[in-house]
Symmetry: C2
Subunit: 588 residues, 2 copies
């Protein structure tokens, strides 16, 4: 079972995911209905605003799991899937329902009074606080599923503009509150939830859904100035009339926000080239307790260290990204893809390396290990290399050259493999729309497995090509005894991104556990694999961010002097230390 | 006259530069002779060291101008060129000889005693100090030409390893000396020369020529660990046996160093794609007064803000880059290029923009305005767009598609235009080696014009496409009255780099002046054009760095909060404020 895909797939995997989705038979999402906001619902995380004023999407987010509430399967569908999973994978499933929304008990808010000027901005209402409590990492989903909302913030601010963000920060600083910026709430690293020792006099979450406007488009320079709270669909909606697109598709795309992508250095679904949000940021505006920083709009500059790169990865510890100028694109005219099979995973890895180091410049170059390929019902139990090209010229020659290169490493392009070339317009009429829906289903499966009492999670990294083989073996060696002890489990791997100097391997694991034991069992596996990543010189995160979850290993990974320097930077932007305490570093 | 090219050209311009070189008839460089060092010459800036110990190149650098001393034309050649320049361009030339090396008077060194452990590392010898005095900006060349070596350092350290760098920094801190890291001494922004008010108790220059070894190669991951003092030719020499190359060719390539490129964010000669040193750095080691920072070798990471990006652009204000793991490559198999003519500069700009925003991915895409094209003897007085492709597949289709696109903007591919495709091996046998020599001649011409009493310099920037037209017009409007008043001058423009959201325009100007007036005349023009860049939201430098020269405009460009944060970072790495004072910021 592939779950929690955070970075996606080329068209070549469309069918794979469609198959998985079909097997699970998750209900399709409905078209959202739009109407004007009511006072009671205005501040929920599903509020969006447009240039014409706030408009409410009544479709509601799950109060505990991934995504839309209406995607939660009914009892019969869950029971059927649990039965299939037991039969096929030998996992003991105990389907249970999540806590009822009404049954959740929140601690009383520590915020007694909201300043009058923030009356329209700050809410202490139960459901608003509840919806702003958790991110969506495994342990957070488990705790929310069980009804544990202990880390609920004391207040939630929904600013409408940068001035209101600044006012909220002034209030937080004066009232001694910790301030946690929140985009889509899709963090899988405890990035948006304070630990008890970080709560100070209380916690205010600053959620950005009302700041999702298009401020300006520069069609000549192909750049757009968009507010930080715009989600993936919202960015698309804003750019569509200009026939432009961002083409940054992390798996969180449907819910996560531009500001969130920037501060967590999100990775898009393309394995190569233009895929990281880092490369799309032309300039950024960040509101911090000590003031506002706006960088100059420039295609490039050699004037000192790049100020944008200080904001990228800052994870809410310096301020709130209220808007950014982003580089936008038109679609390439042609695209093609092929799946190539390998008897040995190592051969597929070698072929991916050769391709990444060639001057053929594939748009996608993704390896699935035999386990992941089998679980995804691709091929016949062999490892798979998926290669794709996008171009303004026909790509058949390029695809053939890539295939020939892969064959030098033992790859086989099976008859029946999809080796097609199409214009983007043609593609949009077949698998294009389909895979996108399918791609976003992964995280829903994780929530479902949580409800079965299983452990199901992903972790991701990057390392040099020369380190990968040993790292991969050590990860399997580390989890095998734990899986055995817990009653069975599986670790699978694919590459979400490849670079000339190394891959970004993405691991999925599903392991036997049971309700009540999930947190401990998961923590044990997470610790084991993270220790291996650290010991092998791999990064603790390629695109999931550090948050609080990855701190122990990030503290080893980042140079000590950099941490000292970063704390000095934090003190500059946030002398009182209110911004997302506990994330990245511990200022003294 | 094209001078001071800091970022270069594709093969398409080989002939252009060859023509210019031929017109000037600069002497060809000789093969370097290598022998073991002598005590007297060991510490000069032309010393290199290898893994087998120090080896001396006896070929000496000019004591005042660009490059090798033996490239200085003889009296007859200079007189002939001056005459040609007067006749062709109407410039009044007054050829004079530079100060004799022996005639230069240095202030006595303020350093009375060198610690015994640094006896083999630190020199206060006259010629060593003299050679480490100036960078190679216009005003520095003028002052050196006149024999003004007032800013000579009090001592020059030539450390052999990171420990010796640390020892030098400890000594500098204890002795109250300012410490200035120096790579090739090719700074064009006063980056390696302290102003009087920055000298503290004295100045020690840390020159890196003895740290130029290959520490390790990882051929699997295509990365190499090289010391910071390795020059371009040295990097090539080190990688050659492994059939790898860096393919980063700033015009300073022959003399500048890996460490220097990193701290100044050097731009290579490719107009697009893999060209900036920023993108080649996999990890870096920097020795600072408070300790050593080494980042982890990773192809990519999303773990917090990128520590490498703090070192990139730090211009010696945080520490000394002693080594870096850099991403290396093999050569693409095929390449092709074409020159396309446009009656209107604006049309060539529009075509370059269309190409940069296409999904054709040209390797080079360079515009020359009519003035620059004419001076380079390209075409017939029209603007020129040079397009090149490099690929592991034949590139003819791609070149034809790019040409067709350019023609939509009014471009004409003249008969006789070189529209050829070749393998890299074939190319190496014709223009390959030739253009590289020619490309590096540009700065020699600037030194020659200085000796004629002219003003001759370049400046470069980047801006969005939507800003460019107004910026370009305003620059011409700003210099026109100054040129008129001074007795004639010319401003020409080409794009060294293009991005989807904007170009990096590179301007060359030659203006009438006379000996004794050059510094004032130059400062007036430099101030005028820099003010225009600033007012139009362009950057004060795309790849030349900030140094001390660009401070007034950098101080406007970088956000105030970023400067405060950067000063906090400086204080972390360098609490005593000894590192390259006056560069980038002024710590309180």
């Amino acid at each position: 079972m592939t779950i929690g895909r955070m970075a996606g797939t080329g068209d070549g995997e469309a069918q794979v995911i469609a198959d998985v989705r079909q097997a699970v038979n998750l209900p399709r999402r409905e078209a959202s209905s739009l109407h004007l906001p009511t006072a009671a619902t205005r501040l929920g995380p599903s509020v969006e605003s447009t240039t014409r004023g706030p408009i409410l999407m009544t479709r509601t987010r799950s109060h505990w799991g991934w995504g839309w509430a209406d995607r939660w399967p009914d009892d019969a569908a869950r029971a059927a899937f649990a039965e299939m999973l037991s039969a096929m994978r030998g996992l003991r499933c105990e389907p249970r329902p999540p806590v009822e929304l009404e049954a959740i008990v929140l601690r009383p808010s520590a915020v007694r009074a909201v300043p009058p000027e923030l009356a329209d901005v700050v809410s202490t209402a139960r459901e608003v606080r509840l919806n702003a409590t958790w991110g969506r990492s495994f342990s957070e989903i488990v705790r929310a599923f069980m009804g544990d909302f202990a880390p609920a913030p004391d207040a939630v601010a929904s600013p409408r503009n940068a001035d209101e963000v600044a006012a909220v920060l002034r209030w937080a600083e004066a009232a001694g509150l910790a301030a946690i910026p929140r985009g889509g709430g899709t963090s899988v690293t405890h990035g948006v939830t304070a630990r008890p020792e970080e709560r100070r006099a209380g916690v205010v979450v600053i959620e950005m859904s009302r700041m999702a406007r298009l401020i300006e488009v520069d069609t000549v320079s192909r750049a757009a100035h968009i507010e930080g709270g715009a989600t993936g669909p919202r960015v698309q909606e804003l750019l569509g009339p200009h026939e432009l697109c961002l083409r940054h598709y992390p798996q969180s795309w449907e819910f996560a926000t531009l500001g969130g992508w920037i501060v967590t250095r999100a990775g898009g679904h393309y394995a190569t080239g233009r895929t990281h949000i880092d490369d799309f940021v032309e300039s950024v505006t960040m509101v911090a307790p000590t003031g506002t920083m706006t960088t100059r709009r420039l295609p490039a500059s050699g004037a000192g260290p790049d100020a944008n790169r200080l904001v990228l990865g800052s994870e809410g510890t310096l301020g709130v990204v209220t808007s950014a100028w982003i580089r936008v694109q038109t679609r390439p005219r042609y695209r093609s893809n092929i799946s190539i099979l390998f008897s040995e995973f190592g051969s597929a890895v070698a072929a991916a390396r050769a391709l990444a180091q060639s001057n053929l410049f594939p748009t996608n170059c993704r390896v699935l290990d035999p386990g992941e390929a089998a679980l995804n019902q691709v091929g016949d139990g062999r490892a798979v290399l998926i290669v794709a090209f996008e171009d303004d010229l026909p790509t058949r020659d390029r695809l053939e050259a890539a295939t020939a290169l892969a064959m030098q490493y033992g790859g086989v392009a099976p008859s029946g493999a999809r080796h097609r070339e199409s214009t983007h317009e043609a593609a949009a009429n077949d698998a294009g729309a389909q895979w996108k829906d399918a791609f976003f289903d992964g995280p829903y499966l994780q929530s479902l497995l949580v409800s079965f009492g299983l452990v199901a999670d992903t972790f991701e990294t990057a390392c040099t090509w020369s380190q990968f083989e040993a790292l991969h073996a050590a990860l399997h060696a580390a989890v095998a005894p734990i899986f055995a002890e817990l009653g069975g489990g599986e670790l699978t791997c694919r590459f979400t991104h490849v670079y000339a100097d190394g891959p970004a391997p993405y691991y999925t694991f599903v392991c036997q556990s049971s309700h009540g034991r999930q947190l401990d069992d998961h923590a044990r596996i997470k610790r084991a694999v993270s220790d291996v990543l650290s010991a092998h010189g791999a990064t603790i995160t390629h695109h999931h961010a550090v948050g609080r979850l990855h701190r122990p290993w990030y503290d080893i990974e980042r140079p000590p002097l950099f941490a000292t320097a970063y704390n000095a930077v934090r003190a500059t932007f946030d002398p009182a230390g209110i911004m997302n305490p506990g994330v990245l570093t511990d200022p003294e």
